[in-house]
Symmetry: C2
Subunit: 153 residues, 2 copies
Amino acid sequence: MTKLYFEDFTPGQAIEHGPRLVTREEILAFAAQYDPQPMHLDEEAGRNSMMGGLGASGWHTSSLMMRMICDSFLLDSTSMGAGGVEEVKWLKPVRPDDKLTLRTTVLDTRRSRSRPEIGIVRLHYELFNQHGDGVMIMIVPTMFGTRDSKGPS
Amino acid sequence: MTKLYFEDFTPGQAIEHGPRLVTREEILAFAAQYDPQPMHLDEEAGRNSMMGGLGASGWHTSSLMMRMICDSFLLDSTSMGAGGVEEVKWLKPVRPDDKLTLRTTVLDTRRSRSRPEIGIVRLHYELFNQHGDGVMIMIVPTMFGTRDSKGPS
């Protein structure tokens, strides 16, 4: 497989990945460690919350999405990471036994002026459940290596 | 301890929490599960990356911050959660043996017009390492229960 460089991303391009099953056990384990709010740990507390039932921590959903991004294309790319996230929205709860799919869409691309060996690709990530409902979106400006930074080909 | 309601938050109010030690083991464990990019898993890969050494996944830092938010005040509040995050910035890498402190600052507060039993508090979170450097910021509009939604006192 050829590594993805900055030049390989074009606006509008879409990459699909999944599905990924989410288990009750991992929802509870993540919540116990990182976000022990009752609606992420207990079915009844979830029903009595705005989630309307046990639901994953938004940070768990974000972390699952990150893993899907890695497996979808990022580990086979020249990604250098990101300094932050422009927007995160948790649209619907992620439930035990949900099957998540990821859609990555390239919003725009630009080469760094000060460091031409780096290009920034703004990536729009959408996570869907098995009903086709969007559960999370985020926009991440991500740095990739440029192909010609490796010298003339 | 009295639960924190919407009315207990006032713009400019600050809450400090920590420190929280971050171990190499937990950095590696989180990365292996959720963000297996080389700079989060391997010292040499970290040195060869923009992180300049092994550094935690930004999603790990976010999850650690969430746990500190829970322990600082959120679990003793009427929080109903948040539908997203306005801004996330990872300013510096989090390293093994870093000791993190959290500062929460209330930006502004407003009562929901359609649901007066809910108030939205925009919270600005800053995470610092033991050198006083900011490692992460985020802004989260969070829903809290209002005191008078419990009926006249």
